[in-house]
Symmetry: C2
């Protein structure tokens, strides 16, 4: 079924103990769509400036099934740019700079051809912008949103309004604690559900994720990677794998989402093996399925 993502296309600079990359392709929409494309066709809605290099644009064509008709490349505008540095253990990072560019302009419009999308992912953005995107869609089957500490701090009311309208939310452990004031993640997730969504996925980075759903609870470890080159995009590629799998199954029951969590975990584990989309670009579906089968064996308990 039709899957759509709204978010950013960015130009990233990353410094890490494993190396550095300057002005590479990034952005939530990009990581999400690349990951999702292994499971389902995916439509993207995002804006970029005319400084977005052609080679970055062409990266998206590398992935079968990414529909870029919703990517607005605006003359005279600047693409969102972001730089970060990872610290020694790769679990902490500091932002070097953020240049909003086109993100300070009007948000992109959802093309008419995309308005019938059934599965929706609203990547991290101001909750009012996410709400606006959602309102342009006719009747989605499942709408899921990401968020971040910034919006929890400065746009809490808008975020609460959004939670009343969506089916699922994905956020980090620290964000779940910040939003609810509860340190126990199960309590925090249960509290978030009271605002409206049927499920909450709490991402714990190298420690995996837990999901609290009205119908039950799921918990998975991260894939135990030998090699982490660049964690950038881990959360968005996780969400992409999860939503891509759900759209492919055309099922958003607890069990279908649980399978999605595993798909997200595994595709994210490939993503962090390289800078930008280098690893996902060379990944084939057989490799992905093989690691997915291996992961299923790893968490087998009976």
């Amino acid at each position: 079924m039709s899957l759509i993502v709204t978010g950013t296309v960015g130009i990233d600079t990353v410094e890490a103990p494993t190396g550095s990359r300057e002005d590479v392709l990034g952005g939530s929409c990009v990581y999400f769509a690349a990951a999702a494309s292994f499971f389902s066709p995916v439509r993207i809605v995002a804006a970029a400036g005319d400084d977005l290099p052609d080679e970055h644009r062409r990266v998206l064509d590398h992935f079968t099934g990414i529909d870029t008709r919703g990517l607005e490349v605006r003359a005279g505008s600047r693409t969102f740019r972001w730089g970060c540095r990872y610290l020694d253990d790769m679990n902490e990072r500091e932002t070097l700079y953020t240049s909003l560019g086109v993100l300070e302009e009007e948000p992109p419009t959802v093309p008419d051809a995309f308005r019938d999308s059934q599965y929706v992912f609203l990547a991290n953005s101001h909750p009012a912008v996410q709400m606006n995107m959602l309102s342009q869609l006719h009747q989605p089957t499942l709408a899921v949103a990401d968020t971040m500490d910034l919006w929890i701090n400065i746009a809490r009311e808008e975020l609460i309004s959004l939670l009343e309208r969506i089916d699922g939310v994905i956020l980090n452990d620290s964000e779940a604690r910040l939003f609810t004031g509860k340190s126990n993640l199960r309590h925090a997730a249960e509290k978030i559900i009271e605002y409206g969504p049927a499920f909450v996925v709490v991402k714990k980075g190298e420690h995996g994720c837990i999901m609290v759903h009205r119908d039950g609870i799921a918990a998975l470890p991260a894939y135990p990677s030998r090699e982490v080159v660049d964690p950038t995009g881990a959360g968005d590629s996780f969400a992409g794998g999860m939503m891509g799998s759900i759209a492919a199954q055309d099922d958003h029951s607890l069990h279908a989402i649980q399978h999605g969590l595993a798909c997200g975990t595994v595709v994210a584990s490939f993503n962090i093996e390289s800078f930008t989309l280098d690893r996902l670009k060379t990944l084939d579906k057989n490799q992905l399925q093989a690691r997915l089968a291996k992961f299923a064996e790893m968490v087998r308990v009976n």
Copy 2:
């Protein structure tokens, strides 16, 4: 099949944000045996002083299948005593005092009737003491040891000699990193296996565990508890559930140990719901099996 544990019987004082308990029953052997007893009969080898209150002694009789013939209560000796304080988030603790008592004397002897034990757990102790215990057993099927940062720092050579003789080792993430100098846990565990054991279980507290085994890798989240009252004994009850399950299955293949990891995870999740053994004392097998089934559903990916 016969399961044996060597370790401590202790008198603990615990201060936590959830409350405090003074001079309650504790010790690695006690938590291990109580947890293991839900799966398999278990023999304990430990020493205590004659200051061990009768009521503490009687707690062990509460659990069906704990064979206490190897518990030496020594006249004129003092029981091991330990006090600790948990900090706000329960993931950090500080030791308030340690009074070794009987642990400074000769280690206990393995009774003749226990020397045919097939499944062996050497709870945390000086590796030379663990080696001595192991050498008193005829021909164990599977010997697994716990250790701690202290021995890694001051008895590294003896620990390496022990690793050459045992089949499995259980340790914390920080200990695995300390022993190997590798921050990536998969690398660290793979490095430990090079010293001899067939498998290494790395405990990550609230984040679950990973196991690297010569035949494959396993990873599980912790059970997402709503209520953590006292984490004391979590590691030992985890090991008890794991080894009890392995002994009950009489199988130490990768899959049998994986099932053991789930059993350990679940029994430990009950243990931390109370101080000392209060929760395990009231736990019945049906409750345990029900949570085990729930946990299996939580980590289900297909």
